[in-house]
Amino acid sequence: MKISRRDFLRMAAYSAAAAGITQFDMDKLNQALAAPGGTGKPPVLWFEGLGDQGCIVSTANYFNGTAGIESVLLNNIELRYNQVLMGAAGQLAIDQANAVYNGAPATPTTLPPSYILILTGAMSNLNGYCILGQDNTQQLEMIDYFSKLGARAKWVIFAGSCACFGGVNMIGGNQIQNVPEATLPNHTGGPAFGGYAVTRNQGYRPARSVFIPGCPVHPDWLILTIVHILTNNALPPRDGYGRPISILGSPTLFNATIHSQCPRKPQHDAGQFAVSVGDPVNCLVKVGCRGKDTYADCPSRGWNSTGTGGNGKWCNAPGINHLCIGCSQPMFPAVPFNRQIDNITP
């Protein structure tokens, strides 16, 4: 594979930034939390709407080379509600979320008593389509309860494409088109949608909300964002869709296209295109790869601890040979994924 000097420098820069949160960052965070006058472990309430729990499972895959998700749960956050992990059931569980909400001031201040609110999965307009639980005799519709808790949250994190933009639930419905934010059409009441639509209505966007798409969210993307928030007491810099583009001063996550980091880019530039999915070498854009339109650092970061800097695995990696299906983009899932495209301009 031929790599130009420019490509090499770009890949090298990504490798450094993409290695994920380092132990140094983690130590810095732990010191910040433990310092005199430090805020202590922040309460986190995490709800899942219309989703498949894939983002929770993915987050559980977090591993920084030294420590895994258990370290985050033990040392960095106080996870008071998460339906997959929590011990509490029924009213006992709802009481935990209510206690955090009731203990927080109406205008968010510091963590604690204010809290971080995380959503995975989409929300629905329709009564009964997504019920979170029951508070005494009242059934809790996800959108009502989440909107209530959002008002007092210091930070609101939408993790995964369903939570951000509606995700797979939007097939056949009103997909948010891939257009600049200023011209985004209002979402006018489809049955499923993400927080991007909700936060505008509820007034806690953009100042307090961050959108971390992906199907699922990469564990590093979520944990890095949390670390940035806790270390800096501020959201990371974001693009027009609210996606983080820099963490702790390093450009990363959603700041560049899959294509710009792809080891198959030299083949693209040389006009060497695959004619079917499964080609281990050539550029897959003519059979549907959306890497040119998709912002995420999968090639640099790799998935599931398989390696970084283009040596790990992701959907269109050499050796996997499938398509980037654009899962971090607002228009995801723009079906069909498998399609023939004839006219490609390098």
Binding site: E48, D52, Q53, G54, V57, S58, N61, G68, I69, E70, L74, L79, V84, L85, M86, G87, A88, A89, G90, L92, I94, N125, L126, N127, Y129, L132, Q138, Q139, D144, I171, G173, N174, N186, T188, G189, G190, P191, A197, R200, N201, P216, S276, G278, C298, W303, N304, S305, T306, K313, W314, C315, G319, I320, N321, H322, C327, P336, F337, N338, R339
Partner: protein, 508 residues
């Protein structure tokens, strides 16, 4: 009669509640149970019109715990319509990804999801006293915590170790699938991946680590809880249910995908194991589910039409969200199997069904047996995977897949096993080679199903009835029975489509 509602049921996938009728307001026996699936998404409807090649990618998003199983069901259906067998190498890659998902999911269930029902993790001192006396581990339901501190510490230590073992299983999936959850490489006729010898070595190393966890921790831990001398050995007579088991079979090991599979297709009818299961005899009832339509439909004829909230929407506090259908209480349909083509019976699916049908576990059905069988099936799958890795290493230069054209008007049932039980996709294509019909029956549809048209409870409901609970307010015993089935609502729920009848509850 007093009722107890547990909503949410934690440590499952998705939104589920249970309504228990208990014969005494403080403690007593469960005399009725309703399992309520509390979420509707609508995949069956929005699959219509899609490109068949996209089915493995879209349907994986049904479940983030067992996406590979959905991909395999979709790919199996595609291959059957085209009458194509995957290449031997492609079959091995598929089995390895699917096998790694089995290991991940069983470990996830037994430790991350189930263990807190039995041990008082907040009292553990293994990570330092009081370390776990906080969210997400505390508070928990009290009552009937029998495990002493030494064993609680050991089990809690393995709860942490299990996170690592599970993560390594996902790394194996990603080495062949690109990422996990939601792998990329599932295509008709095999798999798109072309692993290297270095990949084989990495996967072998990871798999050996996981196998060490299974033999050194997982099997002994489940024996500590459920074995003949275990703390909860009385659970070998609890949560029995109907006593009938059904398996589609999984992990084909040759061109005969049914008879040579690692885990067999068949039923245990309560008396005998029969190595035949005919999908034509599967039907679904919707009488007690929030759908319109007829009962007793085979999935090739099935429909998924949700009751839509009438306008104006009822207030959120309305206890029954869909007053339009009397007697309905869940988003789950009720799948049933006609034993011998006649008697419409209720069957339990899952690892116990697979292992009993395959002949690797005695025909004992209970909460304890469901707990004991998971590490045993994990070991069987891990050992098979080591062989498949060796085989794969010997054919790295062979084709991973065989290309074919999607046939017009194709019809197929794609059957496989998800980790928590039998999974099927019933698929038809139209003459433009687009999907024209897609019905899905997931394992939790079977296990968490409601009353059927004949008035028979679903398997979990049946297993709950008769369970004695020491506290009607915190019925931990009922949670144990439910968790023994490893329910997954994300899977069992059908999906939303924008049908124009939506209500403007939230308007931007």
């Amino acid at each position: 009669m007093p009722t107890t509602i547990i909503d949410p049921i934690p440590r499952i996938e998705g939104h589920m509640k249970v309504i228990l009728t208990i014969d005494n307001p403080t403690n007593g026996t469960v005399i009725d149970a309703q399992m309520v699936g509390n979420m509707y998404r609508g995949f069956e409807n929005f699959m219509v019109g899609q490109n068949p090649l996209d089915a493995p990618l879209i349907t994986q998003r049904i479940c983030g715990v067992c996406p590979v199983s959905h991909a395999m069901a979709a790919v199996n259906a595609m291959d059957v319509t085209a009458k194509v067998q995957p290449t031997p190498k492609g079959r091995l890659i598929n089995n390895l990804i699917h096998g790694a998902e089995f290991l991940h999911s069983h470990i996830l269930h037994s430790y991350t999801l189930m263990l807190q029902d039995y041990i008082d993790m907040p009292s553990s001192t293994v990570l330092g006293a009081g370390t776990l006396n906080q969210g997400p581990w505390a508070p928990i339901y009290g009552g009937d915590r029998r495990v002493n501190l030494t064993d609680t510490n050991a089990l809690t230590g393995n709860y942490v170790a299990a996170l690592t073992a599970r993560r390594k299983a996902h790394t194996i999936c990603a080495i062949l699938g690109g990422k996990q959850p939601h792998a990329a490489s599932f295509i008709g006729g095999g798999n798109s991946a072309t692993p290297s010898s270095a990949d084989i070595a990495t996967m072998t190393s990871l798999l050996n680590d996981i196998k060490t966890f299974i033999t050194g921790s997982y099997i002994p831990d489940m024996n500590t809880l459920f074995g003949p001398t275990g703390y909860y050995n009385d659970y070998s007579s609890k949560g029995v249910g109907y006593g009938k088991l059904l398996s589609y079979g999984v992990f084909p090991q040759g061109t005969d995908s049914v008879n040579t599979s690692l885990l067999k297709r068949g039923i245990y009818d309560g008396t005998n194991t029969v190595l035949v299961m005919d999908q034509n005899e599967i039907v679904e009832d919707v009488l007690h589910a929030w759908y319109t339509g007829a009962d007793n439909l085979q999935p090739f004829n099935g429909v998924t039409n949700p009751i839509v909230t009438p306008s104006p929407a009822p207030a959120p506090s309305t206890p029954t969200p869909f007053p339009g259908k009397t007697g309905a209480y869940t988003w789950n349909k009720a799948p049933r199997y006609k034993t011998n083509g006649v008697s419409k019976d209720v069957y339990e699916v899952g690892p116990l069904a697979r292992m009993v049908v395959t002949g690797d576990y005695p025909a004992q059905i209970s909460v304890a047996d469901r707990g004991l069988v998971r590490p045993l099936e994990s070991l069987k799958v891990a050992n098979a995977m080591l062989g498949w890795l060796t085989d794969l290493g010997g054919m790295l230069s062979e084709p991973s897949f065989i290309s074919y054209d999607i046939p017009a008007n194709g019809v197929a049932a794609g059957l496989t096993e998800a980790i928590r039980g039998a999974l099927g996709h019933w698929v038809k294509y139209d003459n433009n080679k687009k999907i024209s019909h897609y019905q899905i029956i997931t394992p939790t549809c079977w296990n968490a199903s409601p009353l059927d048209a004949d008035g028979k409870n679903g398997p979990i409901e049946k297993a709950l009835i008769g369970t004695f609970v020491q506290s009607a307010a915190q019925p931990i015993e009922a949670v144990r029975v439910i968790h023994s089935f490893d329910p997954c609502m994300a899977c069992s729920i059908h999906v939303i489509r924008d049908d124009g009848k939506t209500i403007g509850k939230f308007i931007v």
